[in-house]
Symmetry: C2
């Protein structure tokens, strides 16, 4: 059995903790002890490993996320990286081809496809076993997971089953309805579509050939940007006659908004926060090192990061997208394969950045055309390469890197740098990569 986890792209609905380069599944917000926080990605991996002694996991994601996922999940995971973002059907087809062509997985193997970011209890994964079993033993081509709805939500698509049995044929799919229509669906036994599918690998490859005209990994990769931007539901599920749905009755939450996310937070705050005694049902997530004082708040979420500060009524926060889109600031926090960078000051012709490098990490060898940089080592030690010349650096060392000088840093221990960039039109695009020398 193979599990394919779909790791989606950028999200604005958890701003300022998610941004164009940081997806919500990487936000560290879950804790068992109130001290060590883990992301949705880490939580889901732990759950899968707890429930399956022997399962292969492949994450279908973008190239940008590949290194970050490798950093979070140290081993035992394959990554199928899209050259650019498409919808779920091309991503799944690419991953299916990857499993056969690159990983030699038998086309008879059962595949479970599911999103990487649902907040669920462990019994959700038990349902996967039932689904895999049905793939093996029933005549159905495709098995879906239907979530027993707890209220007539307008936010989800519905699956209308033929019966109210635990396992049922599927009558039809319904788009996100209004509340009264949702109520009618629920009366008919309607289930939320949680985006979980089970089938054989061969089925995915067959659909790829049918719809994309090929099931070759190399060809799909090559033409990826031209593939149709279509969802698996739309391209496959809705046309499949030989299809069943398995009911799931446990807890399931789409924690894609602050309202739902704070609902599953164990702690009412993360980071430096003080509440007065009159706050009610309010949460503060503080990634900055500024102290936050919260007083007299009712049903409010406060979230602060290097990118900005949200203060919102929880229900209202779901509608933030249009406001976030009006912000045209450079991204101030980004996770990289080698560590993290955070803008600490932005001025007209300068940008000051704090760089955190993991022990052993290295930046790619690069240069800039329109800016010079001054690096000051404030913690740790390592090597700096400047136009091929190696310098060993330690706390307090200052390195001036003129425009066009190729440079990199290789951290021996965990390192922190303050980097002052000076120039006109400072952008992340002003970066030329060079072949590594060391």
């Amino acid at each position: 059995m193979q599990i394919i986890l779909l790791s989606g792209g950028s999200g604005k609905r958890l701003w300022p903790l998610s941004n164009d380069v940081r997806s919500k599944q990487f936000v560290k917000i879950f804790s068992d002890d109130g001290e060590n926080f883990e992301s949705m990605l880490q939580r889901v991996f732990k759950q899968i490993r707890r429930n399956f002694s022997d399962v292969s996991i492949t994450v279908s994601t973008s190239r940008a996320q590949k290194k970050i996922i490798k950093k979070y999940i140290d081993s035992g995971v394959e990554i199928s990286a899209e050259p650019c973002r498409r919808n779920t059907f091309p991503a799944i087809a690419l991953t299916a081809a990857f499993l056969r062509d690159a990983k030699n997985i038998s086309v008879d193997e059962e595949i479970i496809i599911c999103p990487i970011d649902p907040y669920v209890e462990d019994d959700y994964f038990s349902t996967f076993k039932t689904m895999a079993e049905l793939v093996k033993t029933s005549a159905a081509n495709l098995i879906l997971l239907g979530i027993n709805p707890t209220y007539p939500s307008e936010k989800y698509g519905y699956i209308i089953p033929a019966s109210k049995d635990f396992i049922s044929e599927v009558l039809e799919f319904k788009e996100k309805p209004d509340v009264s229509t949702a109520e009618k669906y629920i009366e008919r036994g309607g289930l939320w579509n949680g985006g979980v599918f089970a089938c054989k690998l061969s089925y995915l490859l067959e659909k790829s050939r049918e719809i994309l005209r090929t099931d070759s990994h190399a060809e799909l990769l090559k033409n990826y940007s031209e593939l149709p931007n279509t969802s698996f539901d739309y391209a496959v599920s809705e046309h499949e006659k030989n299809i069943k749905v398995v009911r799931y009755f446990g807890e399931w939450k789409d924690v894609g908004t602050w309202n739902t996310l704070t609902d599953v937070m164990r702690e009412k705050s993360i980071g430096k926060v003080q509440f007065d005694s009159t706050c009610e049902n309010s949460h503060v997530v503080n990634e900055t090192d500024l102290p936050i004082i919260a007083m007299g708040l009712k049903n409010i979420v406060v979230a602060a990061s290097a990118d900005g500060i949200l203060v919102a009524d929880k229900t209202q926060s779901a509608l933030m997208k249009s406001l976030v889109e009006k912000i045209h600031e450079p991204i101030r926090f980004a996770e990289k394969s080698w560590g993290v960078y955070q803008v600490v000051d932005a001025d007209e012709d300068s940008l000051t950045i704090k760089v955190f490098l993991e022990a052993g990490a290295r930046m790619r060898y690069h240069s800039h055309e329109r800016r010079e940089e001054i690096w000051t080592v404030i913690e740790g030690k390592g090597k700096i390469v400047l136009d091929g010349e190696i310098k060993f650096v330690n706390v307090g060392d200052v390195i001036k890197i003129s425009a066009e000088v190729k440079h990199t840093v290789i951290a021996e221990t965990k390192m922190k740098l303050i980097e002052v960039q000076i120039g006109k039109d400072i952008t992340v695009e002003d970066k030329i990569l060079w072949e590594d020398l060391l």
Copy 2:
């Protein structure tokens, strides 16, 4: 006629915009046009100058505030600086002695003493003229300004007058009452004590001799730390039999809390802020360069500065003192005679600061024992002095200042520096001042 403005000390009730080194009267929050903001100090000075063609103003304040006040108010103001903070009586006695001994003011001159931070309309200052006239023409030793109360406040002391006339004898003073007592005072014609006094200079000197055993400026200065920490009301007004009160019916607000301050703000926000359409009676003051999004807020104040973030129900915000006192962070924003500094990153053994210098400004010549500093010029030009050696610096220049090296910067144009401090136990106290060489 002389006006003495009492400029009080540090305040925590407007945290995070006021702090131990930044008093509320310097917070720039008032605007006529929504673009140029001025502080309470600037507003009051403008009002006084509009109302009096010929008046001398002396600010009674701490040594720490002296240079900041000079920076805000470019000319026409004298400063009487206390060596350390005492209550209003010693401060007023010191200023009275300063006026006679240092400024040769006649002891017969009328003096008006008032706090620097009331939010009032111009007619408040017209009342000063009546008070000064009474000092000159009536037999009273001391004239008070009584504010016509608009509600039975528990926050102010009350003056009970003998009659409801515009000018009246004073029957007694009352401490801050509870609401029902306040109602009784108001029925008796009671007035809020706004802390405004008028008398002759000779009266202040006489009280100084009586209570402090001297009216000599030199002696008061010398023994200042040993003077009693007592208020003018307590030491003088409450014992004076020959005293009158003048009624003031205009607008008067003590804008010492976020609730009252936002009440007089013309704009609902300052800085980078977006509101959604469902916010009501909410204000955001954003001094940081992080964008803030506010959604669905009702009666909330949000204030963000380099020192922290407040999110509070407006009424509740008045009670923040105990929460602010629990924050033990180094101050991250401070106004200096030469400009402003702002901490942009604080780490275990390093501190990164952005320094703004005015054109022509200079730091005092100083050194540090336990830290080195790396300065990078990101804007402007000037001179740096290192152990007596002068270097001309420009954008992009980097200066490394080892521990114990004496240094200063003299800005030729407006300048900005990024300063990385590296060392154990970085504190503002680690600073040795040296005599200026240039």
